[in-house]
């Protein structure tokens, strides 16, 4: 619950960028598109947990029901 999530997303982003570049070179553009989509979905799954904890905290502190 700190800086490591930013590094995780950056790592996934770099990995996906390389994979997409590779797939594009070998001519399989649709696979590249799918790889980019997969990267985005994984990142969103991580971010959703983070935002859920944020909303719980804010709801508790500000009594926002």
């Amino acid at each position: 619950m700190g800086i490591e999530i930013v590094f995780k997303i950056a790592g996934i982003g770099i990995l996906i960028a390389i994979i997409c570049q590779l797939l594009k070179q070998t001519g399989r553009d649709d696979m590249a598109m799918l790889a980019a989509l997969a990267g985005l979905v994984i990142t969103l799954m991580m971010i959703i947990d983070l935002i859920a904890t944020l909303f719980e905290n804010v709801k508790q502190v500000f009594q926002l029901y």
């Binding site: 619950m1 700190g2 800086i3 999530i5 930013v6 590094f7 997303i9 950056a10 996934i12 982003g13 770099i14 996906i16 960028a17 997409c20 570049q21 980019a36 990267g39 985005l40 990142t43 969103l44 991580m46 971010i47 983070l50 935002i51 904890t53 944020l54 905290n57 804010v58 502190v61 500000f62 009594q63 926002l64």
Partner: protein
């Protein structure tokens, strides 16, 4: 106080990481901005917890009706989250969506503060009628 350095550290590293990814995968750089924004908000919301606890017992001691304080804290929370979401949308290039988020925040704040407005108006009209009777 130490969390300020943590906030600055997270913000700068997230900005660097987001810039790195902007050329290759722009959608992931927006995700990094969202993650960094959420982390920073989590850090500041802990500080605000102390403030709202202090306000609570101050209000109890002075005997002011606590629902005014509740409404004020709620408005603070709404503004806090709406600003967060609007800035992220603007960062991603969607300024129209950001405007709508801000509009929704304002409407909700208005909805919360209506009863207080009514109480103030009653107070004022009470004073006016009592003086007008003289």
């Amino acid at each position: 106080m130490a969390s300020l350095f943590k906030v600055i550290g997270i913000a700068l590293t997230a900005a660097a990481a987001s810039l790195l990814l902007r050329t290759y995968r722009p959608e992931l750089s927006v995700q990094i901005a969202v993650a960094a924004g959420t982390l920073l908000l989590l850090l500041t919301v802990d500080e605000l917890k102390v403030m709202s606890a202090f306000l609570n017992d101050m209000f109890e001691r002075t005997g002011i009706k606590t629902e005014y304080l509740k409404a004020m804290v709620k408005v603070l929370g709404i503004a806090y989250l709406a600003q967060f979401a609007a800035d992220l949308c603007r960062d991603a290039g969607e300024s129209a969506v950001a405007g709508k988020v801000e509009l929704a925040g304002r409407v909700m704040i208005l909805a919360i503060s209506l009863p207080i407005l009514g109480a103030i108006l009653e107070l004022v009209s009470g004073i006016v009628t009592s003086y007008a009777a003289v």
